[in-house]
């Protein structure tokens, strides 16, 4: 496992020197979605909660950055703390109210909150620019340079993975899993599920905000689309496509999704059709995700086995 990781890290570190401009852009896009997907899975894998509200966390961080730069002339990198705070607050509100509901009702409530935020961004022309969004947000220095942005995104992904790994093997991480495995038993050993699930939601949402910040650095713009429910659907697809039960599954799923889109789009305009067919195939034939296709044995993952 360690050697595989080291090899992957080496390849990722050298990638910008092996790719042309367009390839580098695709790589950055994959990294941004990868950060988003890993963050989403922090919540999904550990609590089983399927949120359709993560676009709200992602998008609110992006809009915070965009608004601070365009309205208050802030320095690009300096907007990060506030962007993360915005994402955290949005996650806190949505999580606090939604977590008490189960399954489909949870999903619907997160969807409702996220759409509210989208509707505000979409219609408030004066403040958010509405449908036209906010454009021309070119970051200076390192983030404005494709190679620099690539490495910044790679670092962000590494940080997110480290955080997830840390949490998963900590008492808090085990607590989450206990609540997911058997809520009644968890209560009987003294765990109050609610707080932990909200905390997981907030952490997941905050890290999604990091992806939102990177999104602005990459696209130099924000549009209400970032907050629309289809963005939440996209990250869910990335996670399930890669495999939610594998540590790096979401990141790999994100990479596969982005590369696939780039390849398909270069041949045809019917990417949604292609994606739809891939999804159908996945749900019907390889529901555990792409990573599981490459594993010779399916084994129960005892946590000590994770690197």
């Amino acid at each position: 496992m360690r050697t595989k990781l080291a090899l992957a890290a080496l390849v990722l570190a050298l990638l910008p020197w092996l790719l042309h401009d367009y390839g580098l852009q695709v790589a950055i896009q994959a990294l941004v979605l990868g950060v988003f997907a890993m963050s989403f899975n922090l919540l999904f894998r550990n609590t089983g909660l399927l949120s359709f509200g993560h676009a709200a966390c992602f998008g609110s961080a992006a809009y915070t950055t965009a608004l601070l730069i365009s309205r208050l002339r802030w320095n690009f990198a300096a907007t990060l703390p506030l962007a993360l705070t915005a994402a955290a607050l949005v996650a806190l509100v949505i999580g606090f109210f939604s977590v008490r509901l189960t399954k489909i009702y949870f999903t619907m409530l997160t969807l409702a909150f996220a759409q509210m935020l989208w509707a505000l961004a979409h219609k408030w022309y004066g403040f958010t620019g509405g449908d036209n969004g906010i454009t021309g947000l070119l970051p200076p220095g390192l983030l404005g340079n494709p190679k620099g942005l690539y490495y910044a995104s790679l670092m962000a992904l590494a940080v997110v993975c480290a955080v997830i790994h840390l949490v998963r093997r900590s008492p808090a991480g085990y607590t989450l899993r206990a609540v997911r495995d058997n809520p009644a038993r968890a209560q009987a050993i003294g765990i109050s599920a609610f707080q932990y699930m909200v905390a997981a939601f907030v952490l997941s949402g905050t890290l999604s905000g990091l992806a939102g910040f990177l999104q602005v650095a990459w696209q130099h713009s924000v549009f209400p689309d970032l907050l629309y429910w289809t963005t939440s659907a996209e990250v869910i697809i990335a996670v399930i496509l890669g495999g939610s039960a594998q540590f790096f599954g979401p990141a790999i799923g994100a990479a596969v999704l982005v590369v696939l889109e780039a390849v398909v789009r270069s041949h045809t305009q019917y990417w949604p059709l292609a994606l739809g067919m891939v999804l159908l195939a996945m749900v019907l034939f390889f529901p555990s995700g792409v990573v599981s296709l490459f594993q010779r044995r399916q084994r129960q993952e005892a946590p000590r086995a994770t690197a």
Binding site: T175, N182, A188, I189, I191
Partner: protein
Amino acid sequence: MPLLEVHRVSKSFEGFRALNDVSLTVEEGSLYALIGPNGAGKTTLFNLITGRCTLDAGRVVFAGQDISHTPTHRIIHHGIGVSFQRAIPFPSMTVLENVTLAVLALGGKTRDFARPLLSYGDAARRAEEIISWVGLNDLKGQVAASLSQGDLKRVDIALALASKPRLLLLDEPLAGLSRTERAQMVGFIRDLLRSLGTTLLFTEHDTDAVLQLAGRIMVLHRGSVLAEGTPDEIRSHPQVQEAFLGREA
């Protein structure tokens, strides 16, 4: 000194009277059983004591403290260990991780998110101690999902013992076990509790096992107390015999 006192407790669900004015007293050091046919109210009474549902009337007092309205996740801090029916341990974790988590939960350490679970040396050692009480030392590194039913029950009891409780509450500890496993479990529980000095209150369907294990028995029928006493008294109680003794497989 009575360790647990249930005073005239009642509970209704949408018009259906599940429990009607039930009282019981559990003395320290005893093994007390609640039996009765399906729907008699055993599990409801159990849930009321453990805080899983709220009572409509009456009180529950533990070691002099009123715990009538204490929610489940706080019950353990009073010195009560709980194991629910079909509430098996956490399948994705190993035995050691399961019990260590329970110990940490008691100590309020479950908010920690930086250090690995097993690096909490004191908690892990304590977990190993409890695991040895239930005789599962060899299996402590095994993932719970791969254990047999009988071993799972032992892990479950280990979780309930994490708080070194004065009172252990088990809801149908023998459910889902084969004949031989049941006999083993009965012996195991009896020996364990004798060595720990823990009081036991349990509900059970298997009347034979109950008559062997319990020191005192209460029979519930349709939400009310039908009979209460020692196994001999219960065995020879005419109404109990009529109600369901002998009908048991």
